[in-house]
Symmetry: C2
């Protein structure tokens, strides 16, 4: 009886080996992008990667220059709602007992009472200054270790309101495959997002395989100082830089010092037009991917005021991805319609 399991295991291993040998013998590599439907988007990606990795080819790019940048919200994970703003709400509510004055003080009062009109009005008429105050209250004034702990706790405790999954699970399966495919072909994959760099670094490695030094986002220059005799990095708001729109190329240049040859973004605010345009200034072959959120059934359908991103895509011959048509699967867990 005790030998049974090993025998079964060996048989399974043998079958797996035979299957593998068979596919190698037939010269078929496994499809690196199984969640992508056959179509122009998938074909264009594969063609580009084959071109830049073909030694001696006219479009060959040496591995050091194979830099790829990816927006995050709406490109790597769902941005309805924006997780970092959910974190702000979560933290303000968590910190409220230590700040009884917030009950009568805006913008805290509005957030605690769920008064969305106040914040919408702030965004529309006051450049989002109240929102920025809430962001700073939850993102500065603590050690980086304490901040990271608060983000991990939020990610562990919170669920996406529609899918009832963690935010680190409402990520796009086709994009995970694309990240892996690019890395397997010698690319360095970076996030370039309007989100906070420290916020994203907490989960980017585990979630996307993107190491902390490959995360580019909004940031401020922190402070290194002694607190209770211990040297540490304290999160600060000096030289605040918002990495969005036309400043994304600036963030990329500051951190990498090279122009990316592959950029992926999505429609909603025009926030990726900058980095997509930037990659087209490269002397080397380059590729632009723009995700269109047109899948109301499986994810969300939304467009952009004035359609600036889609217009820029047409003008620049960027590859537009239809989530509805080009993606066989949306999420790793399989999606459900409402």
């Amino acid at each position: 009886m005790t030998t049974r399991k090993p025998i079964l295991a060996s048989a399974t291993a043998l079958l797996a080996l035979l299957a593998l040998t068979g596919s190698v013998a037939r010269g078929q590599a496994p499809d690196p992008l199984p969640s992508w439907a056959e179509g122009p988007a998938k074909a264009a990606i594969v063609r580009f990667v084959q071109h830049v990795t073909q030694p001696g080819g006219a479009k060959y790019v040496r591995p050091e220059e194979r830099i790829a940048t990816f927006d995050q919200d709406g490109t790597l994970w769902s941005e309805q709602p924006v997780a970092q703003l959910e974190f702000v709400t979560y933290r303000i509510k968590q910190l409220a007992p230590q700040h009884p004055e917030w009950k009568n003080q805006q913008p805290y009062k509005a957030l605690l009472e769920g008064d969305n009109s106040f914040l919408v009005n702030d965004l529309t008429h006051n450049h989002g200054k109240a929102l920025m105050e809430l962001v700073l209250a939850t993102h500065t004034g603590m050690s980086i270790e304490d901040f990271n702990r608060s983000v991990r706790e939020f990610l562990h405790a919170s669920r996406h309101p529609r899918y009832n999954k963690k935010y680190t699970e409402t990520i796009y399966q086709p994009m995970l495959e694309l990240l892996r495919y690019l890395r397997a072909n010698g690319f360095q994959t970076y996030i370039c997002s309007g989100g906070g760099v420290d916020f994203m670094r907490v989960f980017a490695e585990e979630t996307y395989g993107i190491v902390p030094e490959h995360v580019i986002g909004s940031f401020a220059m922190n402070t290194f100082k002694q607190v209770n005799g211990k040297w540490t990095i304290i999160k600060d708001k000096t030289n605040l830089f918002i990495n969005d729109g036309l400043t994304k190329p600036v963030g990329i240049d500051q951190q990498i010092g090279r122009i990316p040859i592959f950029v992926a973004g999505n429609i909603r605010t025009g926030g990726d037009i900058g980095q997509l345009t930037y990659s087209q200034t490269h002397r080397l072959p380059n590729f632009q991917l723009l995700i269109n959120h047109d899948d109301k059934l499986r994810e969300f359908a939304y467009s952009e005021k004035d359609n600036a991103s889609l217009k820029a895509a047409k003008k620049g011959s960027w590859q537009v991805v239809s989530m509805k048509k080009d993606w066989k699967t949306i999420f790793p867990f399989g999606e459900k319609a409402d």
Copy 2:
């Protein structure tokens, strides 16, 4: 006659192969640090690298965490004089014909007339504001391509006043070997310097094998805009950040998001105490190297006001390197005494 050279070449290759095979057969790896004298510094470096790369060992560190940061001026190349300040002088003189007003305008007048007292006075009594004006005049307001071109031209045209070599040649041979040794052991090697990040990125890859994204330095946030219909990065002075002293850990955290386990700096201004201290806050095994400029004959002998770096080294048990005793060779070209 025509066959002679090939035969000789083959014989040489054969001898080289035999020599190699012999050393492999005897189990001797070639010394990775041949310019380092046998002694406590070399032994400590080799011991640390062996510990963190020993799988299963108590001090093992996975490759992703093997981050090493190196100061540049006085740590990787000679800082007498500081090359970037020589660049400022070179550029101001080069641009002077287009700025006839500079003849009567400080601080340009002083620089063009070689009036060092003005600049020394500025540094001593005016926080170096005049020097900063000269730096900004030569480092901002142009496209990154034009700036890079001006740096390359300077590096090609200029010579170190004592050695009559290019600045990219007055680099320390033992440190080149150390960089290579660390990379061969899975480390990522970064520069972390007070120098301008864009200035250093021009030559860091060719000179040290350090890629642009691994250069951390002083920076400002540039601007991405259209100039004559062409999108480009224009060097700007927004959010200027000086990466020195206690701000070096902040620069490292901003760009890498990890604490380095290996840091090398040097004495002169105490500018590396910050990053050396930072690496000691790591939960993982860590190593600190401090170079003491005590070799008047082959390089320069200088100390630090109040000896802060050497005092910190003693307190923190950092490994101090004596250029005189620990380095068999200083420069790749071999050094000459005055």
